[in-house]
Symmetry: C2
Subunit: 208 residues, 2 copies
Amino acid sequence: MKKIISQATIDRLPLYFRTLRLAAESEDLQIISSEELGRRLDITPEQIRKDLATFGQFGRKGIGYDVRELKDKIGNILGLHKHWRLAIVGVGHLGGALANYVNFAPLGFSVVALLDKNAEIIGSEVNGIKIDSARRMKSVIRGNKVDIGVITVPASEAQNVADKLIAAGVKGIWNFAPIKLSVPPTIPIVNEDLSIGLSALSYHMTQD
Amino acid sequence: MKKIISQATIDRLPLYFRTLRLAAESEDLQIISSEELGRRLDITPEQIRKDLATFGQFGRKGIGYDVRELKDKIGNILGLHKHWRLAIVGVGHLGGALANYVNFAPLGFSVVALLDKNAEIIGSEVNGIKIDSARRMKSVIRGNKVDIGVITVPASEAQNVADKLIAAGVKGIWNFAPIKLSVPPTIPIVNEDLSIGLSALSYHMTQD
């Protein structure tokens, strides 16, 4: 499967997934219309139908989508069935917050390792996970079968951490450091920047 | 100014702003081409030219954009010149991380107040700001001239906090709780969900 799907659509898929999962598991809902899905997500039904049509024929006109079928399909597209294992490098405020973030588990992500170079916190636990020394990067990444390296160190250290994570065998990088990292083309990287959402809010507050 | 600008374009504007600001202030660069801006941001020059054309005529063909002029223009569009004042409600891991997040200040955002209902942390300081009791919401919000309320409480408390923030006079809400909040149409709200970026990474790791 190698379709071109827009980033905006990809960004909406986890929202669909989570809403469908809640509908299936908490409400035991069988069928959902694009109107109802749209109401729950504040997205137009037209947008939802367009997004879902990207992946093929879904749902039945005038009836709706099979909740579990659609949830599983979106989960497969996003790769959420793979149950990715994460290591967070840099257990400061942000790294600690991510280690405790409750929204990851329902999507199939588990934080399995924490790494830091600060001797004062190595050995202590966050959310039940012991902080390991960043010097032990390779053995920790391999021993815990880590798929995704999460970088929450300062910008000046981020490239070095990325290089070591990749050498240790991670398959993807989630980067919170405000710097563009060089990684091999085979390693997907997503750069997170919390100031983007805040700037969007500022934009809307300025227009309204 | 009431133009329709796509969310994807709005999301790229802070990236342009920060790169231009760095180019102006750290390098004293006068002119930048869409190619160079694209290289620094990993965005195609065509995309950049298209985004910027949304706001009118910029730059000179074959020469490039005036760095400071473009930075100021984008800053004005995003409302970053307004120097918004933030209050964070819920000083747990995520709230604490946001209080310490260094990427906000260069965009003109300041965290000026922290609120929590937990008596054990009320009175302590995070990044030099004292944590106030959430019971004092109204006087803290007004006394500190807070523009934006940041919600980092559990989902079950988020609507109540949003209602109180709006009653106290905030002009916008930045919500990290995984729940859709009801707010008046005059109050812009941006919902942040860290699992979206992670799901996008999972998607790319699944396709590649």
